[in-house]
Amino acid sequence: MDRRRDGAPAGARAGIAILTACAALALLAPLLVNDRPIVARDPTGRIIFPALRAGRGVASGSGDVALLWPPIRRSWRDVDLAATLQPPSARHPCGTDLLGRDLMARMLHGARISLAIGFGATLLALGLGIVLGGAAGLRGAGTDLLLSRVIEALSCFPPFILAMALQAVGGGGIGAMVLAIAIGRTAAAARFARSETIRWRGTGIWVAAHAAGASRPGAALRHLLPLVSGPLAVQAAFGVTHAILLESSLSFLGLGVPAPLPSWGAILAEGRGSLDVAWWPVVFPCLGLALTLAGLSWAGDRISPPIVARRLLR
């Protein structure tokens, strides 16, 4: 037991370090891998930052002078049929895929999409769940009975099946995907929010907040939500794990992000056909997913005690 407790902070630290690295790579992807310069001077002498701008304009034709290039001058969507399925090399650190697209660029931009969908869907699910479960817990009586049935019915749908069905209706796109995954994960969050609200309702904190003139939803948000932030963080970590797995599974089945966009699941699905001759389009996304999921699970397993302890000691 002691050994386990001593080992815990190291595991949590490793998990958080992995997550931070993934998030940093994802956020900085346009600056690390891009076919547009980071800093350039346009013909009028102004300094511009083409890499940060969305859209496709390439600097060469417009008379811009590039001042600083990203370390890897590749785009995640440039097809190069002369260099298909190149093994990893100095030119292409992760190799190229069946269409000659640079896998490093696709991996990093895929991290952006996978993480954005994972965190976005989880936040949305938590928001929806807190509203639904909080309302059930606060109003009590008939409202609780009704909302609890809704939550219970919703929780019977396996999230993956629900997200698949919603994709049939939503018609693809990242927004629809985030919504589909979020709805699939709402029931878990709502259950948690309801039980925690009921647990804390009527305690000293609750009465004191009322005496100070807080409204019921106000008191719940300002005074109860911080109390449960520890378990909530664990819920969120599990939620993100599930959401990322859902996203990659959907993309793997071809029901996820629309075609040219890279997500880890989509890269894996594209690499599946050429697995006989090239391992890299399958192995790198697997590694990315496994690392992220391991990071989340280590961080999630051990994130709560310190947060809760800090809250109680303050």
């Binding site: 049935r149 809704v150 219970e152 019915a153 919703l154 019977c156 749908f157 396996p158 999230p159 993956f160 099946i161 629900l162 698949m164 069905a165 919603l166 994709q167 049939a168 209706v169 018609g171 797995l245 990659s248 599974s249 793997f252 089945l253 071809g254 029901l255 699941g265 894996l268 599946r272 697995l275 006989d276 399958v282 996304p285 697997c286 997913l289 496994a290 999921l293 391991a294 699970s297």
Partner: protein
């Protein structure tokens, strides 16, 4: 006890109604014209297709009317007709159901057969083997199931050529040869489906066994002279509990997981039907499958709730008290 069973089943009824409502709402309260959505905005190709779609989707009658009709038809096990080929949904489902059942049930058995002993070892021993087991489980839980399936398919079917790549075998006359062929085709999909479950089951069972077989409880039992078989019998009822609890967690995972696994191994089950239904926007088919999945999960919870009091006297007491209160 009968009262408890009846009441527990009755409690599920509103949930069941809610499930049908949600399944209906997802696929029917479309903001846009379902006819246009179905044909990607181009409009149905022919007059015949239009009339068939109108018959199936009835966009002109109100949602309440459509829900009532759908629900009424459900009671007669009439799920409507597939938009793709006009076959009754029930026929499509009954054709695929046995394949999914056989795959999922074998996976469930495999999960229990291996996950529980792993959890037991993890709870009883703190040696190197247990640590290695934990590392393996952690690895299993972070590798996405479809990635593991792809790599295992490549390794065992393509590289080593030990097992068939995909499908269910040649079929043919039922007999030992056909059964052996089917078994060989099932090994890979079943293992891949069980992979994630093993991690879950072992983790869950380890925590449960650790609590049940606490050193104090063991010492007390030994102090009363129990050993060997009698000791095992003493702890058996409590140790059986995690078997039942776990169903509620494993069933939804299996239902979801089998979609991906069936797609990778071209297994002709319900997952493939769902995938094709979603791709082809075959709304009646998707509605029926979503409903089926939810009902399966609900039934799993119900069964677990009914079995638990039979094993756990504490729950039996609760049930008895509950019955006294409710008359």
């Amino acid at each position: 006890m009968t009262g408890y069973i009846l009441r527990r089943a009755l409690v599920s009824l509103p949930t069941l109604l809610g499930i049908t409502l949600i399944a209906f709402a997802i696929l029917n309260l479309l903001p846009s014209d379902p006819l246009l959505t179905w044909s990607d905005g181009a409009g149905p190709v022919s007059a015949e297709a239009t009339s068939r779609l109108r018959d199936a989707l009835r966009p002109d009658s109100g949602p309440v009317m459509r829900y009532a009709t759908w629900l009424f038809n459900l009671l007669r096990f009439d799920f409507g007709h597939s938009l793709r080929d006009g076959r009754p949904v029930t026929a499509v489902l009954t054709e695929a159901l046995p394949w999914t059942l056989i795959l999922n049930l074998s996976a469930l058995i495999a999960i229990y057969a291996l996950g529980l002993p792993l959890g037991w070892i993890g709870a009883r021993r703190r040696s190197g083997t247990a640590a290695a087991g934990r590392a393996l489980l952690l690895f299993l839980s972070v590798v996405p199931p479809f990635a593991a399936a792809l790599l295992m398919q490549r390794l065992f079917a393509v590289r080593l050529g030990l097992l068939p790549l995909q499908g269910t075998g040649a079929g043919g006359a039922p007999g030992p040869a056909a059964a052996a062929d089917l078994l060989r085709h099932m090994v890979l999909p079943c293992t891949c489906l069980a992979l994630a479950g093993w991690a879950y089951a072992a983790r869950y069972a380890r925590a449960a066994f650790r609590a049940i077989l606490a050193p104090e409880a063991m010492a007390a039992a030994r102090a009363r002279g129990l050993h060997g078989f009698s000791l095992a019998r003493h702890f058996a009822p409590n140790s059986a509990l995690p078997f039942v609890w776990m169903v509620a967690g494993i069933v939804p995972a299996l239902v979801s997981g089998s979609v991906v696994i069936e797609a990778i191994f071209s297994w002709p089950g319900l997952g493939q039907v769902l995938l094709r239904g979603v791709e082809g926007r075959d709304y009646p088919l998707v509605m029926a499958l979503v409903l089926l999945a939810a009902i399966t999960v609900l039934a799993g919870q119900l069964v677990a709730d009914l079995i638990l009091p039979a094993i756990d006297p504490r729950l039996r007491d609760l049930v008895a008290r509950d019955e006294n209160v409710h008359g």
